[in-house]
Each structure stands twice: as C-alpha cells, then as structure tokens.
Amino acid sequence: MSAISAAQPEQMSVAAKSAAADSIHQDTTAKLFLLSSITYFFIVGVIALMIAAKFVWPGLMGNSPFLTYGRLRPLHVNGMLFGWLLAADMGLTYYLVPRLCGVKLWSEKLGIATAVLWNGIILGAVVTLLAGMNQGFEYGELILPLDVAVVVAWVMFGTNIFMTIATRKYEQMYVSLWYTMGCILWTAFVYLTGNFAVLFTSGVNQANLNWMYVHNAVGLIFTPIGLSLAYYFIPKSANAPLHSHKLSMVGFWSLAFVYVWTGAHHMIHGPISQWLQTIAIVFSVMLIIPVWAVVYNFFATMKGQWHQMRDNIPLKFLMSGVVFYLLTCFQGPMHSLRSVNAIVSKTDWIPGHAHMAVLGAFSFFAIAGAYYILPRLYRTKLYSDALANWSYWLFMIGGLGFFVTLWLGGLWQGWQWNNPAIPFIDTVVALTPVWIVRFFSGILMFGGIAAFLYNVMATVIGAKDNPQAAA
C-alpha cells in the first residue's frame, strides 16, 4: 500500500473536508461514469478471454447458443468500445471540461441522468446481443431502440458539455476543449450515418457507408476524445506546459479536414470505384500530418521531463499510449496502399492493428486519466502505486505479445491466401500457434485489467479511512 502522509489522521481529515468544501466541482457524474466503465472493462475482459480461448479450443464451451462466437464477439466489441472506453472517456471529460472552463458542470443532475441512461444502454446491449439480436453491421450491431437511446444519451452529454463551455470563465479554450467539441459534433454525424442511414441502403453502397462509420468511429470519436485526454493529462501529470498550443491547433484542424474520407480504404480491391479507393488512399496518407503534429507536440512537451517516467504511473501509460498512437497511425496509411493491402487486408494483422489503437493508445490514455483523477475525486491517495505499476507492465507485455503476434500471423496468413495452391482450411490450422500466444497474452492483459479494477475499487472504498487532500 502506498505511503500515507505523516500528518495526523485528524489533521488530514480536516484538510480533506476543507478542500472538499472549497471545491466548486461536485464530480458525481464523473465518478459514476468512471466506476461503471472500469467494471465493464473487467467483465468484457472475461468475454475477450473466452473468445481468445475459442480460437484455440473451438469446442471448449459446448453448443450453447449464448456462448457462440457470433454472439460473444459483438458483445466484446460493443462492450469494450461503448461500455468501457467511451464511457471512461465521457467520465474523464466531465472532470476536465469544468476545470478547463473554470466553472461548475452546467447540470450535475443531467449528467447523472446521462450516466444512468448509458448504463441502461450497456445492460440492454448485453441482454440483446447474447440473445442473438443483432443488426449485422460492424460496430452497428445494437438494435434500433438502443441506437435511439444512444442518440438521446449523446444529446444529453453534448448539451451538458457545450453549455458548460458556453458559460466558461476564460475567453480562450485549451485544445482539449476543441477536441471534445469536435468529438461531440462528429459523433452525431458518424453515428447517425452508420446506424440509421445505412439501414436504407443495400449492397456495395451499404458496405461503403458501414466502413465509413467504422473507421470514423475510431478516427472521429475515439481519436478526438482520446487526444483531448492526452492533451490534458500529459502536461498535468508532467507538470510541464504543452510544447506548442498553435501546433496542437494544426493537428486539430488537419484531423478535422482529412479524416472523414478514409473509410473506403477498408474496401481496397473490393467492388467500389477506383476513384473512391484512390481518394481513401490519398487522405489516409495525409493523416500523417495531424498524427505527427500531435506526437511531436507530446514528445517536445516531455523534453527534460523523461526522468519522471520512472515512477509517474499516469505518465507511463500516457507516453506509452503516444508511442502506440504513432505506430498505429503509421500502420493505417500503409495498409491503405494497394500493394500492402493485398497482403494484410482481412487477415489477423487487422485485429492486431485495431487493438493497438483502441487498447494500446486510447485505453492507455483513459487508464492514465483514471489513475490521475480518482485520488483527486475521492481526496485520498491511490491504494497501491506498486499495483498500478504491475497493471502497467501486464498491459504492456500482454499488449505487445498480442499486437506483434497478430501482425506476424497476419502477414503469414496473407501470404498463404495469396497462394491459390494452399487450401483455405490449411491456412486456418497453420495459425493455431499464433492464437495460443494471443490467448496467453490476453491472460496477461486481463491481469492488468484486474489489477487496475482492484486498485481503483480499493482506493474508492478506502477513501473514507484515508482522507487526504490530493496534491
């Protein structure tokens, strides 16, 4: 357990109560979103392990329809994306936006109602997806009533955040606020197109709209809200100013103008127009501009601060996430090139790439944010710095094992698929060793999730016994 201040408990209690009384922030919404999302992270982590096990031992879970791959996989995807990551990002946004604006959250009651509705949606998703109710679109599996509920919840979230920003005390907005507002507006566009407009199309156009949604779910939802967190927590954790706010503006606006056209690169060599494929390739390569603007800014911010990586847990997660962000955003444009795409598309390389983006980059940012703010929210100290360090290394080693194995396996798979002399089933059997490594890497990552959850819950539960005004 981490060292508690040498001050007397009575003094700490008084200091904590005083700090709590002085604070203008209530933070109930942030707490609700964070604690529920971290719990979903653990639950959906179990589902992820079950899926990884089914790759190695297909008959492991018998013939129960609830445990088939077709039901567990969408539950894993939706649970991780919307139950864990987006909910955690929303919780952290409810924390940082009022602080950057110098005012209270516009409506804590609306925030609490949003958290309740969001949890209802996630529970509804668990029930319906396990029951086999699925619209059949990648990332758009939820049934229509739940899609409508997501839109309502997002409008509630957006209203609260925009009204908080509208009532802000300071004239200029820090870049995190730009990304947050961009995310809220772009999500409206992306989600409505991917979950409603797509229902009225068919064939190739439907596939094109669906992939535009899938890629922009990552690029225009998780990227801006994730970068919003990174731009806030890296300077805060390192206690060093951002290298250049103007450069962060370059990154924001280039992302705004470039990202939306890239979705069609999922259909390279598919039955869509060559001009559309070429546009997707060109804009995918142009993504290097916002990515480099962001990554250079973060690395330059860390100049003279790298020694803090030794024992600053949030900073470890954040800067590792930045490296993964750079790698995944280098891979993405390369995949879109026709020659590379012919090898890696549809292979295990792609889940390796996607997991590095969603887990390695954006989940690392969210975990760092949680480690940073939870002791502050509960005015205590983190239960265990050592356990937090363990969670970092479990995530890192498990994640690297997972990503690298799937990249190598995907390349191997792609070369085999390009040889018509090899029967398809042989390419499936050949990948068994890759899936075994993936399963054991998954166990390590799940250990990281378990350590993270335990640390968070022990911090929250023990907060009353160890009150302390966080630094």
Binding site: I24, R99, Q172, S176, W186, F200, H245, A256
Partner: protein
C-alpha cells in the same frame, strides 16, 4: 416499396457537407479569436493552474 437508396446516400453527404461548412467557419473564426496570434500560447500555461477553487485565476476572464 419506396426506394430510400439515393435519399440515404444524399443524407450522408448532406450531413458531411454541414460538418464541412461548420469546420470551415470555425477554422476561420479561430484566427479572429486570437488562437494563431501573439497570445495564442497563453492558454497552455493557464491550464496548469488549479481551478478547484472559485476565482483562482484572473487569466483572460470573459
């Protein structure tokens, strides 16, 4: 049966067009609001301040 094929595609592009217009508008406005000017870097120092208490900073109040 009503064919929603093209209306749905037009809907997607129209929505994208709205977002594009909004992006152009706010991008141009960011110049007027001083984000690219001499004081464009002030905000990065201010975000390090602790806003836990009311009126903790007098930075560029609205």
């Amino acid at each position: 049966m009503t064919d929603y094929f093209y209306p749905s595609i037009y809907f997607g592009y129209f929505f994208f067009f709205l977002m594009f217009c909004g992006a152009v508008f706010f991008f141009l406005r960011s110049f007027r609001d001083g984000y690219w000017g001499a004081s464009g870097e002030d905000v990065k120092y201010h975000m390090l301040d602790d806003d836990e208490k009311p009126d903790s900073s007098q930075y560029h109040l609205r």
